[in-house]
């Protein structure tokens, strides 16, 4: 077992190449339990690829990922979800034809126990049988999860709650991002990876989102955040990591990183793409 | 798509049309006696349904010209089944529950025909399958009758032609891998062995196959002195062409099902000298054959009839003969099949049912060969 003060997540020399391009190049990272680390960097710096490597959607060519001290490199996303790692997606990947309720319930999938007995081999068949027969334990579990989902959705106030039975495709862009975050929270994650949660949001929506992330942090949730909006990053992060062309070019507290000449050069060199973009958006 | 059903109302078969067209004829008052036909008019076997109609219509013209049946016209209602069992069962219920239908003809393929058999049997309507060679077809019940030449009869004739007449001793057998082709192959192989030949290779192919080159390499390597084709005309022509193209010069001997002008058209020079065991041939002096061929050419602008035309022509004549004895009562018609004797037939000379098997025995035999692009009676000369 991991020591009490060992980092919850630690990456060592994580590398991923696509053809001639090294998208993620020897990244080291430590994230303590209850901490919030932000990753910033221009577009194409490899941030999302890094998330994919941590959550098992892609496999690294070199390096390792440790979660609670255990090597989880290359495990399938299903297993990582079961270990309590939840993420949101940069471009938004809600289930379009599912209602908000069902979307968020999918987030709670790994918490199903009564209907998914951990029996080898015939487990899936039991799951099918229990889903059809629905004994009291299964019904109770489903009810409990539905109540949970309502509580989570209620955190977004009146934005989502009235639309809880609407299909996700009918929601606004900002609301889809909220559904994604609600879905991630429904997993009761031990590590939450947020990939640009405020993309496409106006200032007041951004402020709401920032308040929510701050609240989650206060509740003790460990968060890895990709974000372009520097104000938010500065206010929320324990530490900031700056990536460029797959490499980590700076790491440290927000203010220190912000004034780092390498960081400024990276952003300027890329035509201020990231920063400029979000200025426009704002 | 396949499970759509439709009815084609053939010339003169619809009561309404008959009423309009023949109101001034001798059949003014009487409703026609109606037969049901279940067969393919669309789908992959559509061509065979078209050939059936040609044979039926010719026979009906002759029957009408001869005064019909007790002053009533004979007509048929053709329902397209696409040779699909799902459609043939629905058609069967339709025919069974339609009191105007006194007898049913068809279907074409075994799955379609035999799926409908239980319904005809229970409904007490004769299912007269005239192309159903599947050995189990008439075992479906005492309402199943067939004039399809039993392969147990036909294949030994072909084997005799190949082995005894042509003197072939090492045979390569290529057959359609359907119930018909498989059954035929087994009867052929047994008979050929009895006549003293050796079967050096057998190859079954599916109906959609077009390329036989690799199959023919297998045939060549087995070193036969003759090729036997248990094929229909289109695939038979393809095999003959490709055999000649790859340089196989052995004698080719084919089952009667290739007997069609299309075989000559599609095969071209490659089918020259191909031997075909058939049930009749153009110069056959038998009056029923001459009447059939002359009538057919006249009705269809000089078109030569083929085997399927002959089957359906015979079937319609047989139906008429049975109804003359049994009347229009369905059970009486069934009983009449056992009574009918020596009906003139292109295929059988005269046809009489064997009550035990509900089939007709004693198909005629003609040994033909393609000479100068025409089917001709084999003159006994080696090729």
């Amino acid at each position: 077992m991991a020591e009490a003060n060992a980092p919850l997540l630690s990456l060592r020399g994580l590398t991923r190449r696509f053809g001639g391009l090294t998208a993620v190049d020897g990244i080291d990272l430590d994230l303590a339990k209850g901490g919030l680390v932000s990753i910033i960097g221009p577009n194409g710096a490899g941030k999302t690829t890094l998330f994919n490597l941590v959550t098992g959607l892609d496999r690294p060519d070199a390096g390792e990922v440790r979660f609670e001290g255990q090597d989880i490199t290359g495990l399938s996303p299903e297993r990582l979800a079961a270990q309590g790692i939840a993420r949101t997606f940069q471009l938004g990947r809600v289930f379009g034809n599912l209602s908000v309720m069902d979307n968020v319930l999918i987030g709670a999938h790994t918490r199903l126990r009564a209907v998914k007995p951990a029996v080898p081999v015939i487990g899936p068949l039991l799951e099918l049988g229990l889903a059809l027969l629905r004994p009291a334990s299964v019904k109770a579990e489903e009810e409990r999860l539905r109540d949970d989902v309502k509580a989570i959705v209620a955190r977004f106030g009146e934005r989502l709650l009235p639309r809880i039975d609407q299909p996700a495709y009918s929601l606004s862009y900002a609301n889809r991002r909220r559904v994604e975050i609600a879905r991630a929270l429904a997993l009761k994650p031990r590590l939450l990876l947020l990939d640009e949660p405020t993309a496409g949001m106006n200032p007041s929506e951004t402020a709401e989102m920032q308040a929510l992330v701050a609240e989650l942090k206060t509740e003790g949730l460990t968060i890895l955040l990709i974000e372009h909006k520097l104000e938010m990053v500065m206010q929320l992060s324990d530490r900031v990591i700056v990536m460029d062309e797959g490499k980590k070019i700076a790491e440290g507290p927000g203010e220190q990183v912000r004034t780092d000449p390498k960081v400024i050069e990276a952003y300027l060199g890329h035509g201020l793409s990231g920063a400029a973009e979000q200025e426009n958006a704002a | 798509m396949s499970n759509i059903n439709r009815r084609t109302l053939v010339q003169g078969s619809l009561a309404m049309m008959a009423g309009a067209a023949f109101s001034r004829s001798a059949f003014a008052d009487a409703e026609p006696i109606l037969l049901g036909v279940s067969g393919p008019l669309t789908g992959p076997n559509a061509q065979y349904g078209t050939q059936w109609k040609q044979g039926f219509d010719l026979a009906l013209d002759e029957i009408t010209a001869a005064g019909g049946i007790d002053g009533r016209k004979l007509a048929y209602q053709f329902e397209d089944s696409q040779s699909d069992p799902r459609q043939s069962v629905a058609i069967a219920q339709k025919f069974v529950s339609d009191p105007k239908i006194v007898l049913e003809l068809g279907d074409f393929s075994s799955p379609a025909s035999m799926a409908a058999s239980p319904i005809y049997q229970r409904g007490g309507l004769v299912q007269f399958g005239f192309t159903n060679s599947h050995p189990d077809f008439t075992k479906g019940g005492d309402f199943m009758w067939s004039t399809s030449v039993s392969q147990a009869d036909e294949q030994p004739l072909l084997a005799r032609y190949a082995v005894k007449s042509l003197g072939l001793k090492k045979l390569a057998v290529l057959h359609l891998n359907t119930d018909w082709g498989r059954t035929s192959r087994d009867y052929f192989n047994n008979a050929a062995k009895e006549y003293g030949a050796e079967i050096v290779v057998t190859e079954g192919y599916i109906a959609e196959e077009r390329d036989f080159r690799s199959t023919l390499v297998r045939v060549r390597d087995a070193n036969p002195d003759g090729l036997v084709l248990i094929s229909y005309y289109s695939d038979g022509a393809l095999i003959a062409r490709q055999a000649r193209q790859v340089g196989l010069k052995q004698v080719i001997c084919a089952a009667s099902s290739v007997y069609s002008p299309k075989f000559l058209e599609l095969g071209g020079e490659a089918v020259e000298d191909v031997h075909v065991g058939t049930r009749y041939f153009p110069e056959d002096p038998r009056p029923e054959v001459q009447k059939f061929i002359a009538g057919f050419k006249k009705k269809y602008n000089g078109l030569e009839p083929d085997a399927f035309n002959a089957y359906s022509y015979d079937a319609m004549n047989m139906a008429a003969a049975v109804i003359r004895i049994g009347g229009t009562d369905r059970r009486a018609i069934r009983d009449a099949f056992a009574k009918v004797k020596d009906v003139p037939s292109v295929i059988f000379g005269t046809a009489t049912f064997d009550v035990a098997t509900r089939r007709v025995k004693g198909a005629m035999n003609a040994e033909l060969v393609v000479r100068k692009g025409q089917f001709a009676l084999w003159d006994g000369k080696p090729t």
Binding site: R93, G96, N97, L98, V115 | K139, G268
Partner: protein, 607 residues
């Protein structure tokens, strides 16, 4: 030893023929990401135009080729303009279905114009043959090879060096970006369809001359083999399609050499499945790429399904339940029995294709497995029919799931192609495994339906039996869909990557969907076997699979009530409109096209 040379040459010659179709398919796939099921129909049209030119107009060969190419290109342009362009912003499944509809329409038009009888299409080349190995090749072989290789080369040069070709490649890599860069995507599509159609038409004519035979059934076979060759070579890869075709020809030829002629197609389809499993992007795709964006999400139309109130459904069930007591004919009952049997198959397919998004084109295989299991158990072990049918359902659930599992890791159109191949494999195994299935002779004398010792032979009792079974299966499926499995299946369909990130194992849930769906299909097949009393390998064919998919799309993907409504409609409506006679398949194709155009989400909507 020399035989192996001959088998190799023969394989290459046939592969050469396949390549002509595959190149056209690859070109279209490269730009539109679309498997054009109408390519075989253009091939057919080309063959018949060639016949008109050669036999009636007596044109010389070069003129014949030009004439065929021009007419076929026109057909291609019309298909693009009126069949596919209106669907540009529609769901991804829409153009695929549209090409199926277009192929029905074209095939049927040719059949109505020229009759179904095969025709001879004489070659216009001198009949000289060259000895190669143990066999010979003729000038047509060389011409076909020449046309295949030249067109592949020309296309390669065109794509690489011409301005339009550059636009085509840009559009194929990123359509939106290309549009923003000022590429006229419509013009690109037109060019591609025109070229591909001209090529398809000429190939149909050349192959017709090659065999001296053309008929209306050649379309589907050409499409099937062309698709196999194209996917083996890597969909969208023009040189890959040529190599894939040659490889397919070789595999078939060697298959014949080793196992015999009746195994030929078995090897073709096994090759396809193996390639798809090992290298899902074809043999010539680069090894490892960034995880692709899901095709799902855009594959299923967003829709608000029509909610039918519970009382209305109960009333409908009640009406159909008492129908045999009313004065309706046995024919109506039999038609509805067919509808209920198709309805069970559609329930199964709507679950796997609609709910979990595995668009299967080989679903008839599940019917066949259920039918053979039930028939053989009742015949050889004297198992009571009721139990035998249940056993057939279970066997179909188990075996069907195992057989289809190689397709679980595939996406989008590849699933359809893999399942199509798996369906063909099942049918060919039934044909060849004679010791069990009795091969082409089939199984006859299957006992009639019975329940607790009572034979169900009256149409009314069969009707009630089939209807009751279907209603029970539909209720079970509705219950399944309202459970956590329902939302899990739909989540996997909408976005399998997000689903995995939330702990949903794709193999587990796709298996569960196929187990449940396989049972329903197997039961349908089992009942059919006892109803028909005779089955063989042709009873449950690819056309059944395509019909079932049409039913499911008509009703609305994933929609339980829709599946049944669709089944009743596709069995019943043609009966009502019988006057259409010869034109019914034409009408069917047109209705399919209109449906895709105006209601891609189906009558009752996708769930």
């Amino acid at each position: 030893m020399s035989s192996w040379l001959d088998y190799t040459i023969n394989g290459l010659i046939v592969g050469n023929v396949y390549a002509l179709v595959a190149v056209g398919l690859a070109l279209i796939f490269g730009v539109s990401r679309l498997i054009n099921f109408a390519q075989g129909s253009i091939y057919l049209v080309g063959a018949y135009i060639g016949w008109v030119a050669v036999v009636q107009l007596h044109t010389p060969l070069p003129l014949t080729i030009i004439l065929v190419a021009v007419v076929a290109a026109l057909v291609g342009l019309i298909i693009e303009r009126f069949g596919l362009r209106p669907l540009q912003n529609s769901v991804r499944i829409a153009p695929l279905l549209a090409t199926i509809g277009i192929s029905f329409v074209l095939d049927q038009l040719v059949m109505l114009t020229f009759s179904p009888n095969p025709r001879a299409l004489p070659s216009q080349l001198p009949d000289v043959r060259f000895q190669v190995g143990g066999g010979t090749i003729g000038p047509l072989d060389l011409l076909i090879a020449g046309v295949g290789i030249t067109s592949a080369l020309l296309l390669f040069v065109f794509l690489r060096y011409s301005k339009l070709g550059w636009a085509v490649r840009a559009a194929s890599q990123d359509r939106d970006a290309a549009m923003q860069m000022g590429v006229d995507v419509n013009r690109v599509n037109q060019a591609v369809f025109g070229i591909a159609a001209a090529l398809g038409g000429v190939s149909g004519m050349l192959v017709g001359m090659y065999y001296n035979q053309i008929d209306t059934a050649m379309s589907l076979q050409a499409t099937l083999k062309g698709v196999v060759a194209e996917v083996v070579g890597g969909a969208g890869n023009v040189p890959g399609a040529v190599v894939g075709s040659l490889l397919l020809g070789l595999v078939e030829s060697y298959g014949v050499a080793v196992f015999g002629t009746s195994y030929r197609n078995l090897f073709a389809f096994l090759l396809l499945v193996v390639v798809l499993v090992l290298r899902p992007n074809g043999l010539f795709a680069s090894a490892r790429q960034a995880p692709p964006e899901p095709l799902t999400g855009t594959f299923i139309a967003p829709s608000r399904p029509l909610r039918i109130p519970c009382w209305a459904l109960s009333a409908a069930v009640a009406v159909f339940a008492i129908l045999p007591l009313l004065p309706v004919s046995f024919y109506v009952l039999q038609t509805l029995i067919n509808a209920w049997l198709l309805g069970m198959l559609a329930l199964s397919l709507t679950l796997v294709a609609g709910t979990i998004g595995q668009v299967s084109l080989g679903h008839a295989a599940l019917l066949a497995i259920g039918a053979y299991t039930s028939a053989l158990l009742s015949l050889t072990l004297n198992l009571p029919v009721g139990l035998a049918i249940i056993a057939g359902g279970l066997m179909s659930a188990a075996l069907g799931t195992i057989l289809i599992s190689p397709s679980f890791r595939l996406r989008g159109h590849y699933v359809s192609i893999a399942t199509l191949a798996i369906g063909e494999i099942v049918s060919l195994v039934i044909l060849n495994w004679e010791s069990v299935t009795r091969g082409p002779i089939g199984i006859s004398g299957i006992p009639p339906l019975s329940l607790f010792g009572y034979d169900l032979i009256s149409p009314a009792s069969i009707y009630w039996f089939a209807f009751a079974v279907m209603v029970v299966l539909a209720l079970l499926q509705a219950r399944l869909l309202s459970s956590h499995l329902g939302r899990s299946f739909r989540a996997i369909r909408d976005d399998d990557i997000a689903a995995r990130a939330y702990g949903l194992s794709l193999n587990r849930y796709k298996s569960l969907a196929f187990i449940f769906g396989g049972f329903a299909a197997g039961v349908s097949g089992g009942i059919a076997a006892h109803l028909y009393s005779y089955i063989n390998h042709e009873t449950f064919n690819t056309q059944q699979s395509i019909l079932a998919l049409t039913v499911v799309i008509l009703g609305g993907l994933g929609n339980v009530v829709g599946a049944i409504v669709g089944a009743v409609a596709l069995v019943g409506l043609p009966e009502v409109f019988r006057i259409a006679a010869e034109y019914r398949i034409l009408i069917y194709g047109i209705v399919l096209l209109l449906l895709v155009r105006f209601r891609p989400q189906g009558l009752l909507g996708t769930i």
